[in-house]
């Protein structure tokens, strides 16, 4: 026990003396989690809250233009700005200058055109039913009036089409209502009867959106940028200890300290064990700090706060396994690397690749299928999957089992390979 305490003290002193390593392990992930969460939060808002910036010039001399604007505002899909003093020739430039993603020009004959089309369609229907004369119908001309749309080129094709569909749906609703109004007028009514109007308003088949999850729906949480970024960058930070820990191991190996420790009974294993304990402390404090920032600080800077999962034991298990995976990988690099530069370079690059394919930088579910398959070789993938299960689903042990099994296997393989190398080199 005394030897362990002495070794722990030595490891802590070495850790504290490694200022660059401490900055990399504690400060870098904090900076990253703030920056990336803020950046991604805008993207999450763009997608999840779906409010697109829209500019409208309404030169309509009737009332339907205003009605269309009202519908667009009411839809909740757009932040609408109306600038009627502009003309069509300036709309493109104004759209870009005002950083709008979409703009619409409503011409002065928009209402007139809708009315003409509705009237013509109503007459055609009534002629078909024999209610009005065919001669009267042919005298009504259809309108050629059109709405001009402008899109920012950054909008992707599928997104653009869904916006157009949305706007068309609103216009179609207005046109249908107008057409039905003309049907009643042509049949001698002054207005659409209220009960018909109410029926028309409520006629759409309701859609019931349900998000798919493994657990009971009432406990299902909607993912947000914090729930991805806080665990993701905590994992990245933990694995980035590879630079400090593997460098520390290589330095001791090359300096001859390991050889001296070999001549002291049980000192070598004690040193390795104390390294594991000290870096476990580092990893868990990294996690604690990052989670505290997500819980306590994020809500104050307009970011979604992190909510801890119900399964706290599961959180502890996944945290511990993630930390041990990072430590085991760092030790493995440390015993196989020939120089400190090799350990740092290979360690850092391998972690960045693991992070990229493992869904740390961007979530795996938006990657192509083959990348998702490749990503499964990354230990960071299984760490983040474990945290996703806890934060986004219900974190039941069944959901966590995949991550737990893979991480245990990864730790075991790293430790065995480390042991074999040390055994070959006669350290143990």
């Amino acid at each position: 026990m005394k030897k362990l305490l002495v070794s722990l003290k030595k490891e802590l002193l070495l850790l504290v003396s490694d200022k660059m390593g401490l900055l990399l392990m504690y400060l870098m992930p904090l900076v990253l989690v703030f920056i990336i969460t803020l950046v991604q939060n805008s993207a999450f808002k763009l997608v999840n809250e779906n409010r697109l910036e829209m500019l409208i010039i309404n030169h309509d001399e009737g009332t339907i233009g205003d009605s269309l604007i009202g519908h667009l505002k009411h839809s909740g899909d757009f932040n609408v700005e109306v600038l009627n003093q502009l003309d069509l020739s300036k709309l493109k430039k104004e759209t870009l200058d005002r950083r709008k993603l979409i703009s619409i020009y409503i011409p002065k004959d928009f209402s007139k055109g809708i009315h003409e089309n509705s009237k013509r369609l109503s007459n055609l229907l009534l002629t078909e039913f024999g209610v009005v004369d065919a001669e009267k119908t042919t005298s009504i001309k259809g309108s050629t009036s059109q709405i001009d749309y402008f899109f920012d080129p950054i909008l992707q094709e599928n997104f653009r089409l869904s916006i157009l569909t949305g706007v068309h749906t609103i216009i179609a609703g207005i046109e249908n209502e107008d057409m039905i109004r003309y049907l009643f007028l042509d049949m001698g009514y002054d207005e659409i009867p209220p009960h018909i109007k109410n029926e028309l308003m409520a006629r759409q088949m309701p859609l019931n959106p349900v998000q798919i999850g493994d657990g009971a729906d009432e406990t299902l949480k909607v993912p947000n940028s914090s729930q991805h970024n806080v665990p993701a960058w905590s994992i990245f930070a933990m694995f980035f200890m590879v630079i400090s820990l593997s460098g520390n191991v290589v330095k001791e190996r090359l300096s001859g300290s390991f050889i001296r420790l070999q001549t002291i009974p049980s000192a070598f294993l004690m040193t390795i064990f104390s390294k594991i304990l000290v870096y476990l402390f580092v990893a868990l404090t990294q996690l604690g700090i990052m989670f505290s920032i997500g819980i306590l600080v994020f809500p104050h800077i307009d970011l979604p706060g992190l909510e801890l999962p119900d399964n706290m034991l599961g959180l502890m298990v996944i945290s511990l396994l993630s930390a041990m995976a990072a430590i085991s990988y760092s030790l493995l690099i440390g015993v196989y690397a020939k120089t400190q530069e090799q350990a740092g370079g290979f360690g850092a690059i391998s972690i960045m690749i693991f992070a990229a394919i493992g869904g740390i930088w961007v979530p795996s579910f938006i990657m192509p299928e083959y990348m998702q398959s490749i990503g499964k070789i990354s230990p960071l993938h299984w760490c983040i999957e474990g945290f996703y299960s806890l934060f986004l689903k219900n974190g039941t042990w069944t959901e966590l089992s995949g991550s737990i099994v893979y991480l245990l296997l990864f730790i075991f393989i790293c430790q065995v390979l480390t042991y074999l190398k040390l055994r070959i080199q006669n350290y143990i």
Binding site: K2, S7, S17, S257, I259, R260, T263
Partner: protein
Amino acid sequence: MENPIIEVEGVIKYYGNSKEPSLNGINLSIYAGEKFGIFGPNGAGKTTLISILCDILQPTEGSVKYTVENQPLSVADILPQIGFVPQDFAFYAELTAKQNLHFFGGVYGLEKEVCKERTDSLLKTLGLDHVANKRVKTFSGGMKRRINLAIGLIHEPKIVFLDEPTVGVDVQSKMSIIQLLEDLNAKGTTLIYTSHHLREAEDFCSRVALMDHGKIIAVNTVPELLVEHKVANMEELMINLTGKQLRD
């Protein structure tokens, strides 16, 4: 006759897939209280032999036996009584001289107070007491060599293996190191010593072994070796026995 404290029998050592042995049938007896020198050109096998004696390397064939006060000891029993001073600086450069000695004293199982006492004493003897709280990475080559030695002596071992303890140091540091070793030997510590400095063999060692190509080519006291081979000094003896060919 007294039993040797270390008895090496037929030790052969091959590294990896090498077809040439680094040690080729070493037989050697070292007695308690000796200042035993192992000398030889580069690649002779000195460091490999010391590494096997300290249990850092395992021999491919042969055995090493330890007997202290007529009691045969296993490797596990002898290790706490061995001090090892490697040729490379085997310490933590980011820690202070004191922190290094406290750590190694601690892992040798010394009580805190005893460790502190010995740390202060060694630092004073080796002229490092004024830099006790400075990081070792700021030390000169000679100071590093002295702290490297101090770490190997912190637990007051019965046998000390010293691999080139005076290489690359100024004459003052060398004198300080040699004086400390003389004092330790006077108190009964057995010293096993390798060096390139043949002059040190003449001045310091009670008995020497000359090695070349993994074999021991001569063992005796320095005066007897000089008489036996009819040479004036150790350098002449070494050239006579190992030739003038350059070594890798």
